[in-house]
Amino acid sequence: MKKVLALLSLAAFSLGYAQGGTLILNNYSKYDFYGYIIANNTTGNCYPHISSANPEMVRVPYDSHMGNGKALVYENYRDQYTSSLYPMATWSVALASGSSSITPRAWNNPSMAPGLVLSNNTKWATTKFVMYYPGTTDLAPDNFNGAVTLFNNCYSAPSNFTTPSGNGAEIFSITSGTDTITYIQLF
């Protein structure tokens, strides 16, 4: 009985969150992050495939994380536009392979709402990025750039890496029931 109650309260607690889950990007490093934010279907095939489009690459300045309220937080494709410090005005949506199937969709396009096909069938999965010295387009040292992606995803990249000088990037998820929070962290 206790277990049932616990499950019920958890279920009630979970309502109201988009199925794709929240993305939180913490940049703890001393370099600016400049990258694509990509989500895709992670079961079976890679589509739908959704990528940042306007801006194509998001700049999250050095030392921007939950601790100072400057983390990039995307609750879902739509609501991020009004709630995030890094609003994404347009997403590039591919429903199948081939460039003809790619369409730009504004954040408030009805199909981008949580609980619908796109949201329910995709997960935050990848970032392709470079790291710059603050406020510049000068590359951070030691090849601190590349991509991190979820395990066994459509995109061929590791989930984490560390540079010789000790900087690093990783993507991981924390899953509880139907709630998944995806973290991208730069150190």
Binding site: K2, K3, L5, A6, S9, L10, F13, Y17, T22, I24, N26, Y28, H65, M66, G67, N68, G69, K70, V73, E75, S83, L150, F151, N152, P158, S159, N160, T162, G166, G168, E170, I171, F172, S173, I174, T175, S176, G177, D179, I181, Y183, Q185, F187
Partner: protein, 119 residues
């Protein structure tokens, strides 16, 4: 005219100083929660070779454990009792961390709204 402009500038500056920032309004529990996530980047807390070979992107239990104390603190600071915390999560690390993250986001949203309404 110039004097007026300068006065306006000064008054704007003063307002800027009085306005709180998200950083200054954070609670110690929120700060520790962020520190725990930052600590995942410490050399000894990075993924081990074994963890890298796992067939999943779920954070490993070893690294989740690093986030649990600060997560619990944050949940308790929101008015939840220890008994309630245990009853709802059964001590499950993922549940505790996800719950804490949701509280964190709610709190920072509230702080941001307060700052906006002050302006």
């Amino acid at each position: 005219m110039a004097a007026f402009a300068i006065l306006t500038l000064i008054s704007c500056n003063n307002e800027g100083n009085a306005v709180n920032t998200v950083e200054s309004m954070k609670t110690p529990q929120m700060e520790n929660f962020d520190k725990a996530f930052k600590s995942l980047g410490d050399p000894q807390n990075r993924p081990t070779e074994e963890e890298k070979k796992r067939n999943t992107s779920e954070l490993s239990d070893r690294r989740k454990a690093l986030l649990v104390p600060a997560s619990k603190e944050l949940i308790l600071s929101s008015g939840v009792t220890e008994a309630e915390l245990m009853r709802k999560t059964g001590g499950d690390m993922s549940q505790i961390i996800v719950w804490a993250t949701q509280i964190y986001m709610k709190k920072s949203d509230e702080i941001r709204k307060n700052i906006k309404s002050e302006k």
